[in-house]
């Protein structure tokens, strides 16, 4: 599937390359891709652009498939909530997408659950070409969306659509660990048939009395109590959750589109909860910024209303980018001067620093090394 070629003469390329000290990695051994692979794996002999073999496919819903993947021998373990980058090359252009690992850690094989997005380039390419025996390029497990090892009385998992993938893995892991804590699971979907992992969730509810799943469907049945036909937001959650939850012993996880996450995050923050973990599937709506960016190398200055990545692209710069939502760090660039606001956290930072272009908005004028 991929055209990342291995050298014909020496299959020992990875051996030669992995032994090179950092300062010797110039030219075709440029640090670019290797660097983050090594950092993430924490090992010197991390594979360059690891690949995995597709073992099997399993249909979850009409438009969602779980792919079982077998990575190489030295592939590191993952923690529930983490994801992998899957890279494919379509017509010469490299596209990378993040997929949460939905399998059980330590099982040997990895599982990712891919939803066919309408008009989606990578999801369709993957689902159309990934058959048993195919090889795809993946990354080591990445992500900070993790369960915290601390005394917990309640877990609250919120998700919408395909945002269920990481929280499903986390909820299952929590339950299987034998915890006595309440595990609340709120999920929004279009209809009963589009709930990914529906059967598994029903089995978990049957097996674990502390598992409390609630579904919020667009096309719901008014008579079905566990499948409501209201919108899932903080107000709806608040009406179900006990009023006496202790913020210090509650872990909250939210995963889905920007507005969905923003609403829940805002609600919980106001209610006194901190350390809420969020994974944005799309960026939240932000007010149009009034700042502008001066791109030093390209000698252009543009207004940056949405974010700096789009500003760079408007200025004609084919900036390096990846997920475009603050997760993968591909768009990281160097800001020389000026103040920026992080779209996800609202935090403002100034001065000379590396920033993720896709989630920053300039406040005033900034100078970027692009």
């Amino acid at each position: 599937m991929n055209s990342t070629k291995e050298t014909r003469l020496f299959s020992g390329f990875t051996a030669f390359e992995s032994l090179l000290p950092d300062f010797a990695r110039t030219g075709i051994f440029s640090p670019a891709a290797q660097k983050y692979t090594r950092e993430q794996a924490g090992r010197l002999d991390a594979e360059y652009r690891p690949t995995a073999v597709v073992l099997s496919r399993r249909e979850e819903t009409a438009d969602t498939v779980t792919l079982k993947l077998l990575p190489g021998e030295r592939y590191p373990d993952f923690s529930p909530g983490q994801h992998i980058d899957v890279a494919v090359e379509i017509d010469g252009v490299r596209h990378v997408r993040q997929y949460s690992l939905t399998g059980i850690p330590g099982a040997g094989a990895l599982e990712i659950t891919v939803k066919r997005q309408k008009g989606g380039l990578v999801s369709n390419y993957l689902l159309n070409t990934a058959e048993s025996g195919a090889r795809i390029e993946i990354s080591v497990p990445r992500g900070e969306f993790l369960l915290r090892d601390q005394p917990t009385a309640s877990y609250c998992f919120f998700s919408a659509g395909s945002g269920i993938t990481p929280v499903y893995a986390m909820a299952r892991a929590v339950l299987q660990s034998g915890t006595k804590a309440d595990v609340w699971f709120f999920h929004a979907a279009r209809s009963k048939d589009t709930i990914i992992f529906r059967n598994s969730l029903e089995r978990l509810a049957f097996e674990y009395k502390n598992f409390k799943p609630y579904f919020f469907l667009k096309e719901g049945d008014a008579s079905d109590t566990t499948h409501r036909s209201v919108r899932l937001n903080y107000a709806a959650a608040e009406s179900i959750l006990p009023g006496d939850m202790n913020p210090h012993t509650t872990q909250v996880f939210i995963c889905g589109p920007g507005a969905f996450v923003q609403d829940l995050e805002g609600g919980f923050t106001t209610a006194g909860f901190s350390g809420i973990q969020s994974e944005y599937y799309t960026l939240p709506e932000t007010a149009a910024g009034e700042g502008s960016a001066r791109f030093i190398r390209s000698r252009t200055t543009v207004k940056a209303e949405t974010n700096l990545l789009e500003a760079a692209e408007a200025a004609g710069i084919q900036a390096k980018h990846g997920c475009r939502r603050g997760i993968c760090h591909e768009c990281k660039a160097h800001k020389r001067t000026g103040t920026v606001k992080n779209i996800l956290t609202g935090k403002e930072t100034s001065g000379r620093e590396d920033i993720q272009l896709c989630i920053t908005q300039p406040v005033g004028v900034v100078e970027i090394d692009l």
Binding site: R25, T26, I28, A32, E89, A319, L370
Partner: protein, 362 residues
């Protein structure tokens, strides 16, 4: 062929035709280009691994040392010319692959990717052949036009050119520091600027002259000499090709005044008039990083270089239509003119006044 003076309308039409050619070519950029650059990288990788391995295991045997050094030299030439230079121009940025992106590529030579992109992509390509602004005109040490007044130090020019050739990667590394402006006080040096440059120079030397020899065990010396020679091969080759691009006899220079309020057509014209091509076979074009198509490169720096050969016939057609000279020739002819130019300007102008005025009025 003498260049026809163009009216403003013709100038605009000239620019428009070249713009159209560029758009037409960029529309085709995609899978083919990605496959091409991957193939070239693979070729380079094979040569580098073969070369370094041969030097390490059999470098003590003269025949193998020659083969190993040659392979490594070819790898370095490919990496410098066809791969590094073109990637850093952003030609392969469309792939969005960190291995081929101008923002993350760090080429295998003493100069940093960052300072190169400033002095070359920006300064040289914007102010091409503009006296006083394009510092590639002589690299601050050679006199190549009569815009620069003669000084006795230029008598040593053929020697400094030879030294520049042999030590080209180090000259380029220091190029962005603007030594001649530091001396005159026009520019201040900051530690921030100097640090990455010195760091890269140091680590490149450590890579080829310490790390590889030391890890070669008994063949440390053959590896050391092999690496020195391979770098020398790349330096001399790059210097020669680059000089052929702008310092042939008819390559023109321009004044700052001439380029004021330059229209797009006029910019294209300056790029054309300041550049010269080299004729050759497909393998020659690859080894020069397609700088054998210096004209096309200067007209279209962000188009993947392997496409210049396709674009050349159309460019020549357009030049003929507008009565402009398309400077091309064999390597011997063009390089001969470059050497002649270096010698000519190493001597005072007064020696040549009579014959030159005669030639001008002819």
């Amino acid at each position: 062929m003498k260049n026809r003076k163009l009216t403003p309308e013709e100038m605009n039409a000239f620019g428009a035709e070249l713009d159209a050619l560029r758009a037409e070519t960029l529309a085709k950029v995609g899978k083919e280009d990605a496959e091409y650059i991957r193939d070239i990288v693979q070729l380079c990788r094979d040569h580098e691994l073969l070369g370094r391995e041969l030097l390490k295991s059999d470098g003590a045997k003269p025949a193998d040392w020659l083969r190993g050094t040659y392979a490594l030299g070819i790898a370095k030439i490919l990496e410098n010319m066809e791969i590094g230079h073109n990637i850093m121009h952003g030609q392969y940025d469309f792939m969005n692959d960190p291995d081929f992106h101008s923002q993350t590529y760090e080429w295998d030579t003493a100069s940093t990717s960052s300072s190169w992109r400033h002095s070359h992509n920006y300064m040289h390509h914007t102010y091409t052949n503009v006296v006083g602004k394009d510092r590639d005109l002589g690299y601050g040490i050679l006199r190549l036009t009569d815009d620069e007044p003669w000084k006795p130090q230029y008598l040593a020019q053929p020697i400094s050119n030879f030294m520049l050739s042999v030590l080209f990667e180090w000259g380029v590394a220091l190029h962005d520091l603007e030594a001649e402006n530091l001396k005159s006080g026009k520019k201040q040096l900051t530690l921030q600027e100097l640090k990455p440059i010195l760091s890269k120079m140091f680590s490149q030397a450590a890579k080829d002259y310490v790390y590889f020899p030391v890890t070669a065990g008994k063949n440390a010396l053959p590896v050391l000499f092999g690496n020195i020679t391979a770098n020398l091969m790349r330096n001399v080759w790059a210097h020669a090709i680059i000089f052929c691009g702008h310092f042939t006899e008819k390559a023109e220079t321009f004044t700052v005044e001439e380029t004021e309020n330059e229209s797009r057509g006029a910019w294209y014209l300056r790029q054309l008039r300041g550049s010269s091509n080299l004729k050759g076979d497909w393998w020659f074009h690859i080894l020069t990083g397609n700088l054998s198509h210096q004209i096309e490169h200067h007209l279209f720096p962000d188009v993947p270089a392997w496409r210049y050969a396709q674009m050349a016939p159309k460019v020549q057609e357009i030049c003929e239509k507008y009565g402009q000279h398309y400077n091309t020739g064999s390597f011997t002819k063009q390089y001969g003119e470059v050497l002649k130019r270096i010698f000519r300007y190493s001597l005072p102008d007064s020696w040549f006044k009579k014959s030159e005025t005669a030639a001008l009025s002819a």
